[in-house]
């Protein structure tokens, strides 16, 4: 885990250094400040590029559902909806699966199996997102269309409220497929955070629970999880931040349809996919600015989610060191 405070010598700051040291310190500080400046600069530059669209449409940019390059009308509602729905599907599947993997790696698997299986799951994070996209479009989407989606429609379609979500032709490409692929992509991030923090739980707590007769499941559900819940939430937010901004895999399987539809089986678009698909084809300044405005929204949303993740993860680390 990051942020583990390791004691280190204080470099004597007040020492009257030779000019070489002063230059060196300046160089180090300059590089560090550049990292800060990059984020600030990126936010500013993107806001600047988005300004024409924000000025032209006003707050209606957020609520408008039109996306019409011919009539020069742009609203962010459909891409925002697509981003949120695909990420929600991704989290709904990725969180339980990641928890299962962390449970398996810390409680079920024999010791010799833990490292290789953990490494294999983490390998999923190393596969480039465009590879997920190709697999998704050519293999997973047809599989969904042939086997999974007809079954879902038959099984859940007649239900009163839930049915709307699974109503529609089994196209393969659409929000459900995109969300499931996203969930495979974020599982390694969430599960490795969960596994790492589960292992941080003090041995005395585990021994006390097992000594009182708790089963493995009760140990994890009643002791380990409550003890690590803020860091677990941090890991989930980290995965959510990834899912919201993921571009290429979603671009392949979402269908780039600027139409609102309640069914998960229908194509849609997301913020990132709209930018990736349309940016080089945007032929007017307002069109380009609207896409940059979408980028600014994505930047703002992911910043908040990732900052939350970081704070939640830091809380556990601070608690651990105090203990």
């Amino acid at each position: 885990m990051s942020g583990m405070a390791i004691s280190r010598a204080e470099i004597p700051v007040r020492r009257v250094g030779p000019w070489g040291d002063r230059l060196f310190r300046l160089l180090l500080a300059g590089a560090a400040i550049l990292v800060l400046a990059l984020l600030g600069g990126a936010a500013l530059a993107i806001f600047w590029g988005a300004l024409p669209a924000f000025r032209h449409f006003g707050p209606a940019f957020l609520t408008g559902s039109a996306w019409d390059p011919v009539r020069q009308e742009f609203g962010a509602l459909v891409p925002i909806y697509g981003t949120l729905v695909t990420s929600a599907v991704a989290m709904a599947t990725a969180v339980p699966i990641s928890f299962g993997i962390a449970l398996f790696l810390t409680e079920v698997a024999p010791a010799w199996l833990r490292a290789p299986i953990g490494a294999a799951i983490e390998l999923l994070a190393g596969i480039p997102s465009i590879i997920y996209g190709m697999w998704g479009l050519f293999v997973f989407a047809p599989f969904m269309a042939d086997h999974v989606e007809p079954a879902l429609t038959a099984l859940l379609g007649p239900l009163p409220v839930l049915g709307v979500l699974f109503d529609g032709p089994p196209l393969g490409i659409g929000m459900l497929t995109a969300g499931l692929i996203l969930s495979i992509m974020v599982v390694p991030f969430i599960s490795s955070v969960m596994r790492d923090v589960f292992l941080l739980v003090p041995l005395t707590l585990r021994e006390a629970a097992v000594g009182l007769g708790a089963t493995r499941w009760e140990l994890v559900w009643r002791v380990v999880l409550p003890h690590t819940k803020s860091a677990v939430m941090g890991g989930i937010f980290l995965g959510l931040g990834r899912a919201l901004g993921e571009t290429m895999a979603v671009t392949f399987v979402l269908g780039n349809a600027h139409e609102f539809s309640p069914s998960l089986l229908m194509p849609s678009t997301s913020i990132a996919a709209a930018i990736a698909n349309e940016f080089t084809e945007a032929d007017s300044d307002l069109y380009r600015s609207s896409l940059i405005a979408l980028g600014f929204l994505l930047f703002a949303i992911t910043f908040v989610v990732l900052a939350l993740a970081k704070l939640l993860l830091a809380r556990l680390t601070a608690g651990e060191t105090r203990r």
Binding site: S2, I6, R8, A9, I11, G17, D21, F24, L28, A29, A31, A32, I33, V35, L36, L38, L39, A42, A45, I46, P96, I97, S98, G100, I101, L103, F104, V108, I117, A120, I121, L124, I127, P128, S129, I130, I131, G133, M134, W135, L137, F138, V139, V187, P188, T215, W217, E218, V220, G245, T247, M248, F279, I292, F299, T302, L306, A307, A309, K310
Partner: protein
């Protein structure tokens, strides 16, 4: 009287036995589901890798490395895309690695107490997971738009921005693992800070820092989104970093979505090469790190 007590006791035992049974059933169910979840993750991994391997292997051949990408409907290779990716990656490393190492050194050596180090660490962790397509937009605005055209340089800058936080993070973390006594020994001998860092800290942390760099290179070799509107693409072989430049990810993207079988087969071949490169690099980096952690 005694019989009554015995009966009550055995009733309680039966009740607690049933409770025990239920708890154990829940336990078995939960652990079984956990094993299934792990199996699902492993199946996804094997499924994806097998898809890439089977489709990619069918399209492999020496022509990939000797010919440039073809016009629609004819045969060709990936030479220009491979060269473009290598050149842009090299430039991205030259730009991103030194800045990242310096910034990471600052974080590790400033004692972590000053607010600026805390702020940089916070921002760096956010940059690490920030959507890379936003990086592409940023570079488009600061380089592509002012210069009036897409270029390999813009692509390399975007890649460097993705690489930078990885290097900062790993440099920071590995330098903090170097024992304090080493620093003190060097400073006590009268070495200036810069000599201590360059000739004591960096050699001691070499393996970890190199690991970070390799992981960073693995990460940028697969990044597509930041290149879509920075480097764009180039159908021809070009060594001019100031012009639009072919690169593996964008070529794979365009060819995979094209209707031409020859292009699609090149996309699979490219996908196989890219996946092999990225996974071998990250496995190699892992392998290098292991002895230090153990």
């Amino acid at each position: 009287m005694r019989a009554d007590g015995e009966m009550r006791a055995s009733g309680e035992m039966r009740a607690s036995g049933a409770r025990m049974l239920r708890r154990q059933a829940v336990n078995a169910l939960a652990l079984g589901l956990a094993s299934l979840a792990t199996l699902a993750g492993l199946i996804a991994l094997v499924w994806i890798l097998a898809t890439i391997l089977i489709n990619g292997a069918a399209a492999l051949g020496p022509h990939l490395f000797t010919r440039a990408t073809p016009p629609p409907g004819s045969e060709g290779g990936l030479l220009n895309a491979l060269l473009g990716s290598v050149m842009m990656t090299a430039l991205a490393v030259l730009l991103g690695a030194p800045i990242g190492i310096l910034a990471g050194t600052h974080l590790a050596e400033s004692g972590g107490r000053r607010w600026i180090a805390a702020a940089v660490r916070f921002v760096n962790d956010i940059l690490l997971s920030a959507p890379s397509i936003v990086t592409g937009l940023f570079v488009y605005e600061i380089i592509v738009q002012p210069s009036g055209h897409f270029s390999g340089i813009a692509g390399a800058v975007a890649m460097a921005m993705v690489l930078l936080p990885v290097v900062v993070r790993t440099t920071d973390e590995t330098l903090r693992l170097v024992p304090v006594s080493l620093r003190e020994a060097a400073l006590a001998l009268g070495a200036p800070l810069w000599r201590m860092v360059l000739f004591v800290l960096y050699p001691a942390a070499r393996a970890g820092m190199l690991t970070g760099l390799l992981l960073g290179i693995a990460r940028i070799s697969g990044e597509t989104a930041p290149l879509l509107f920075t480097a764009l693409n180039n159908q021809y072989l070009s060594f001019d970093l100031a012009r639009p430049m072919a690169n593996m990810p964008v070529v794979i993207f365009q060819f995979a979505l094209s209707p031409y079988p020859a292009w699609q087969s090149l996309a699979w071949a490219g996908a196989l090469l890219m996946t092999l490169f990225v996974l071998l690099l990250s496995l190699g980096a892992r392998f290098m790190l292991r002895p230090r952690q153990g």
